[in-house]
């Protein structure tokens, strides 16, 4: 595994003319290795996108160190960007009146690929992402999911060493999100380091190796995703019963969806829940613990607020 990105104690500010400077990052850090998928989490305004912009060399840090593939992105933008694939704020910008293939030709040329190389890569990627039938359609005819897939194609067209995805599954349905995640996993398995910033924490939980949590511009957690769940995740379990269930008298605090119940352990609620099940004469069909990254995230976020 090679170290791809190191961000160390970085401070960054937006300084528009005629307005007060806004400090967006205050001692933010992260590191990314090849084959690794890093989940970047934080509430709105925590500094996720700013951190990504710093890695992309789109802004300069006031203090601290940003190192991408051994270079400072602000001083070596072209060299760094040649090895990065990016989706910012959901999707790439497309001229809607063009065809997907035209856009690929333009972006590929920007990465120094010759038309013949772009065509070869495009053949492969359009097929792989299931967009082959729509390759020569105008972007106006693309659905949101198709546009996001096309954004991913643009991001990996030049076979980058690092892939940075800012809210890549925003507005995608469950099926397409899952498909999208599989593709990202495949890309990481080929050796690429991936950073995913998303609010849909549980959707990407199974995918990530490492989690970084930002709060008010500061890194408050950086470690293995499982250790985050172990340390901060609210222990919960999912219960299924063989019988048909009447939930009209279900105790408060228990969630019911898709024929199963989600209950917190070690609480008064779980005791009430099992008493209720006994009263109703329900026969247990299955019980499994839930790995809930989102509740772990909320817990660490709230706890640190009290520190």
């Amino acid at each position: 595994m090679n170290k791809l990105i190191t961000v160390d104690e970085v401070i960054a500010e937006y300084k528009p003319f005629g307005r007060k400077a806004i400090r967006a990052l205050n001692a933010a850090s992260l590191s990314l290795n090849s084959y690794e998928i890093l989940g970047l989490f934080g509430l709105n305004g925590a500094g996720k996108t700013t951190l990504i912009r710093l890695i992309l060399g789109m802004m300069q840090a006031s203090n601290g160190k940003v190192d991408v593939l051994g270079f400072s992105p602000i001083n070596n933008r072209e060299r760094v960007l040649a090895n990065l694939g990016v989706i910012l704020e959901g999707e790439r910008f497309f001229e809607a009146r063009l065809k997907a293939d035209d856009i690929l030709q333009l972006v590929g040329a920007g990465y120094g690929l010759r038309p013949s190389e772009i065509k070869k890569r495009a053949d492969e990627l359009f097929y792989k992402f299931g967009l082959e039938p729509n390759r020569f359609k105008l972007i106006t005819e693309y659905s949101r999911g198709m546009r996001q897939k096309l954004s991913l194609i643009l991001a990996i067209l030049h076979q980058p060493k690092i892939l940075i995805l800012d809210e890549p599954i925003i507005a995608l349905d469950i099926e397409t999100s899952r498909e999208f995640m599989m593709m990202i996993k495949e890309i990481a398995d080929s050796g690429c380091g991936v950073i995913i910033s998303s609010h849909q924490i549980n959707t990407i939980a199974k995918l990530i190796d490492k989690a970084v949590i930002l709060k008010d511009g500061k890194t408050i957690f950086e470690a293995n995703a499982n250790s985050l769940i172990e340390r901060f995740g609210k222990p919960r379990f999912r219960v299924k019963f063989e019988n048909k269930v009447d939930i009209s008298s279900l105790p408060k605090g228990v969630d019911f969806a898709n024929d199963s119940f989600v209950v917190e352990t070690d609480t008064e609620i779980s005791a009430k829940f099992f008493s209720w099940a006994k009263r109703e004469g329900l026969v247990l069909d299955g019980l499994e613990p839930i790995q809930d990254l989102e509740s772990a995230f909320m817990k660490i976020n709230n706890e640190r607020a009290l520190l």
Partner: protein, 241 residues
């Protein structure tokens, strides 16, 4: 070579847009010919001592200057997302703008030559496109490209620039229609565009001055843009809209 392929892909896409929306392209062409026609009538009215042909070519020179001026902004993009997309690619923006301007210039100059003949037909003017005009138009285009780079520098630093480019374009076109040799002789010391107009109207030509002014304008534009980019990165202005 990399910039040649980017410029080519961009140019090809611009042509695709014309081809895919033929009605829009036709309406634009008709509107544009009418526009140049009316301006040429105005120029003939203002400068009756100058030949119709020279007046038509003056108008076209004004339009070439206006196109050169707006090219950097059009290439870089108007919205935050368009500009951001350029900055996500491993390219030098200056080289990108200059490379794409080559194909764009060829497109407009060829279009204008066709339009000139159409308008000359309407105005019953004997038109000749001297090779020297083509040569001059390169200087005019490059010098206004330099000014365009200065203006786009304002855009990336201050995010807003209102209708400044439109106003300056109108000044270029207005000068082509209304300026007489006396005024042009005065401005020609500072502007390659005025020097080109002076040549078209009177035949007075000083090539070292013309190219000197062109390069100064272009270099000021490049320096201004490079400095503004540094400022933009330092103050994190790219993310702002």
């Amino acid at each position: 070579m990399k910039y040649f392929w980017i410029a080519w892909a961009r140019f090809k896409n611009a042509l695709y847009l014309e081809y895919r929306y033929p009605l829009q392209a036709l309406m634009n062409a008709i509107g544009f010919v009418l526009f140049i026609y009316l301006l040429s009538i105005g120029a003939n009215f203002n400068n009756p001592n100058i030949s119709k042909s020279a007046n038509i070519i003056s108008v076209l020179t004004g339009l070439i200057a206006a196109f050169g001026l707006s090219h950097p902004l059009t290439t870089l993009g108007k919205s935050k997302f368009e500009i951001q997309e350029i900055y996500l690619q491993p390219i030098s923006r200056i080289k990108y703008i200059l490379a794409s301007s080559t194909f764009f210039f060829l497109q407009i100059i060829l279009t204008f030559i066709v339009y000139t003949y159409i308008i000359a037909l309407f105005l019953n003017a004997e038109i000749q496109i001297p090779s020297q005009f083509l040569f001059l138009s390169i200087a005019v285009y490059l010098s206004s490209l330099g000014l365009g780079l200065v203006l786009v520098s304002f855009r990336i630093v201050f995010q807003r620039m209102g209708a400044l480019i439109n106003f300056i374009s109108l000044i270029f076109i207005g000068s082509a229609v209304a300026a007489n040799p006396t005024i042009l002789r005065f401005i020609a010391n500072y502007s390659a565009f005025a020097r080109a107009l002076l040549y078209i109207q009177t035949g007075e030509l000083s090539l070292p001055w013309l190219w000197g002014l062109t390069f100064i304008s272009l270099i000021i534009g490049i320096i201004s843009f490079a400095y503004s980019e540094k400022l933009m990165f330092k103050r994190a202005l790219l993310a702002l809209d």
